[in-house]
Symmetry: none
Subunit: 539 residues, 2 copies
Amino acid sequence: MTKEKLYLYDTTLRDGQQTQGVQFSTDEKLTIARTLDALGVDYIEGGWPGANPTDSAFFDVAPNTRATMTAFGMTKRTGRSAENDDVLAGVMNANTPSVCLVGKSHDFHVTTALGITLDENLENIRASIAHIVASGREALFDAEHFFDGYKANPEYAVQCCKAAYDAGARWVVLCDTNGGTLPHEVGQITSAVIDAGIPGAHLGIHTHNDTGNAVAASLAAVDAGARQIQGTLNGLGERCGNANLCTLIPTLLCKEPYVSTLETGVTKEALAALTRASRLLDDILNRVPVKSAPYVGASAFAHKAGLHASAILKDPTTYEHIPPETVGNERIIPMSNQAGQSNLRKRLAEAGLEVEKGDPALTVILDEIKQREAQGYTYDTAQASFELLARRALGLLPEYFEVKRYKVTVERRKNRYDKMISLSEAVVVVKIGDEKKLSVSESLDGGGNDRGPVNALWRALAKDLGRYQHHIDDMKLVDFKVRITHGGTEAVTRVIIDSEDAQGRRWATVGVSPNIVDASFEALLEAVQWKLARDGARP
Amino acid sequence: MTKEKLYLYDTTLRDGQQTQGVQFSTDEKLTIARTLDALGVDYIEGGWPGANPTDSAFFDVAPNTRATMTAFGMTKRTGRSAENDDVLAGVMNANTPSVCLVGKSHDFHVTTALGITLDENLENIRASIAHIVASGREALFDAEHFFDGYKANPEYAVQCCKAAYDAGARWVVLCDTNGGTLPHEVGQITSAVIDAGIPGAHLGIHTHNDTGNAVAASLAAVDAGARQIQGTLNGLGERCGNANLCTLIPTLLCKEPYVSTLETGVTKEALAALTRASRLLDDILNRVPVKSAPYVGASAFAHKAGLHASAILKDPTTYEHIPPETVGNERIIPMSNQAGQSNLRKRLAEAGLEVEKGDPALTVILDEIKQREAQGYTYDTAQASFELLARRALGLLPEYFEVKRYKVTVERRKNRYDKMISLSEAVVVVKIGDEKKLSVSESLDGGGNDRGPVNALWRALAKDLGRYQHHIDDMKLVDFKVRITHGGTEAVTRVIIDSEDAQGRRWATVGVSPNIVDASFEALLEAVQWKLARDGARP
């Protein structure tokens, strides 16, 4: 049986940016676009060119993607031609191969929000889509409020879609803009649109999660025949978010009837990178990943109940609906039992540390991790700090040097031109063997700008490490993440630092303290120690 | 038309406790039980008496509830009678009016996990349920792995349910234990069970969110005729969680066909307390509430897109599927670079600043926001900083005082007992009128622990503000969030500080700088200025 193609349309960069508190930089948009392309979505909606500076900047530098890059905008306004609408021109000027325009399809919104006649709106849709098609691009029409519109005035809602389709739109996308339509209604209404003459192969579905049904409603539309799904990574989006592609993609690839009847651009290999893609977006947003997220959450395959955990050891299918590795996720079984130890041994082996089954050091390491996690540490991402912790427990970490003390000063005052300036200065005192080294550094970068106390500390620490100097000369701090978390009853700061060296290795270390400078310093020290240990430096 | 009763069965205290990292105390269980009872659920599953000490302790002191208190356990084991099974006896000893027993209904689990014959399992179900009924209690049977079992061996899965029903079970609950069954399958299979002779009025549905469809699958079972829904507050539960009652309840009370055909024990008044109930659970768990949660999330009625925000001002139904007050939630129109002037005026009005339509100050404020957001500021959450920015543009912010300079020192060294200690010290110099004030403070809390440089700065700033002192004496910093973002090409630090005062007001301010201490100081200053402005302090 030939499988029908189901198209995935990602709007993380556009509708995802409507999330409260989310504002992507151009660089972040580029990273996300590359991730989406590697995942295998068919369309990437990059933003609304002309509506804000970041969106315009993104299209100027948008990467070459296999996915069709799409600019978003709205249908032309009444009283001017499509050619003379400056907002539409701004969208066209992004020169994307595909353009998606949102337009009204609910009579109430046409007459009340726009204050134009129903016929004028139909003409705006028709002329705008025709304008895109005439320019040789692919056209999509987002039928805003389609489901509410259909319930109020089915004939008119369908007329709006037909106007776009007849004008040459490749896709007519049925949008549940307010997110209040339940899955059974979405299914019925999508069927009705197909019956009215727009083939399912030209219909898309765009849902929101206001009733917790965005995924189910998308599936209901596909069941009815729609062949494009719009959604976002991690269900980002206005209010309660859009349909979550991190949930939909594995369902489409692992569950019936979809596996047997439909195909998407996502390969099995790409699916196995889904958890990483989801975490990457959280990293960019500095969000704590949602543990309970379907498929990609850290708890999605965590088995806490004793009965479940013991059955899982016999046969994972007893309490797992799919194997976690399918989506690049992991099974978690409470650390205390056998499975916890074998997980640990696996992770140690990844770090090049082979430990025998039953070695008492395993219990010591597990206990230490538990205790430190209760204080606010995390070893999920800070793999290098995990490795150091294990090396310490195994007696495999030499004491390379000792930090005797450090001192950082941050000062803000007026300079002699009466301009407020700030400056940080750090002194670090280390003892290497019998030698005491005292280094000082300030925080100004090449342009004379203050880069802050952590930067000053790093420079002072890296300035003179004596016999180790050649090991750390090629080290660079590439990322710095700060989170307030809870250690016991008190709020503490957790700092995660990503470092890189000339060999292209990248490693993450963690520090925790109520004092943010101290937490940063701990993570810096760990970064240096990992580098020395991995380089096999001799103390 | 007479409405049919739909029963709500809450398992927050039992299945909810299977969430990774969740362990309720007895007191917390009592608080949650009272909240659930006030909400109007029909059953409260309190835990598994005998399985762990907290669950047993809860039943000893369980409150008198309108809802039916239910103890959870499992069907008797093979080789002993129901009367002589000590695990079952532990459950019965809790003396609840209702008892729910989980038992197998998937042939594979019977023979593989339990290692008994299919007939033995049927007999265990029958005898256990009969034992509960004979003791005068209401009996429920949780058919574990029912949907997977039905797909593997429909006859046997149904036989298990019939065994319980025929033995007198008030409810047979169809459980999708592994969470992998999609809504359309749940609907079809539930219909098949009803056709096989168990009336929908005796059928319950218990789903998990592993495919993001727990809510939709529950609704599909209700559509098919099931009349009991099992779920948890905030969708707590093992792996990806259970069906979220905070999502299901408003859907059942606000959406068709449920409003017209079914009735639950939840009144309109109780529904208006739903957001509070959801937040209360997060408080108990020390979790940050999920902003994007359907109905009850802080972003559920937040309108960021400019077009949406201006339409909402004309008529909230344009972009809201229900009025937020229905569930005790609030509408939010945040600022962002996508926002239009009408959005801005609404937000200014909320801050007590009435500005005429078309006032040129509106353009000035929008430009300023745009420019500062490009530098890394955000005004979505930092409402107080937004207000200060507007007041400055409108000439409504007096210069209360001037910070001449500050200096912070962070030091880590050994004390005289050779123990590493850290200490921060801050000096702040402000000018109030003609008076210069120099304050110094260190960062130790009551227990002698270093709370870091920002804490020291705050203490020094708040130590002596002269004529303003009485305004800030009741100020407290309650939260502190840090993220690394990009201002132009350079990474900068964004700090958001939440403050609170004795009147219970809570406000958020933002600071941005490459220097984290400087960014924090800016947010601190803004917090103080907002308080002075709102208190109407005289410079």
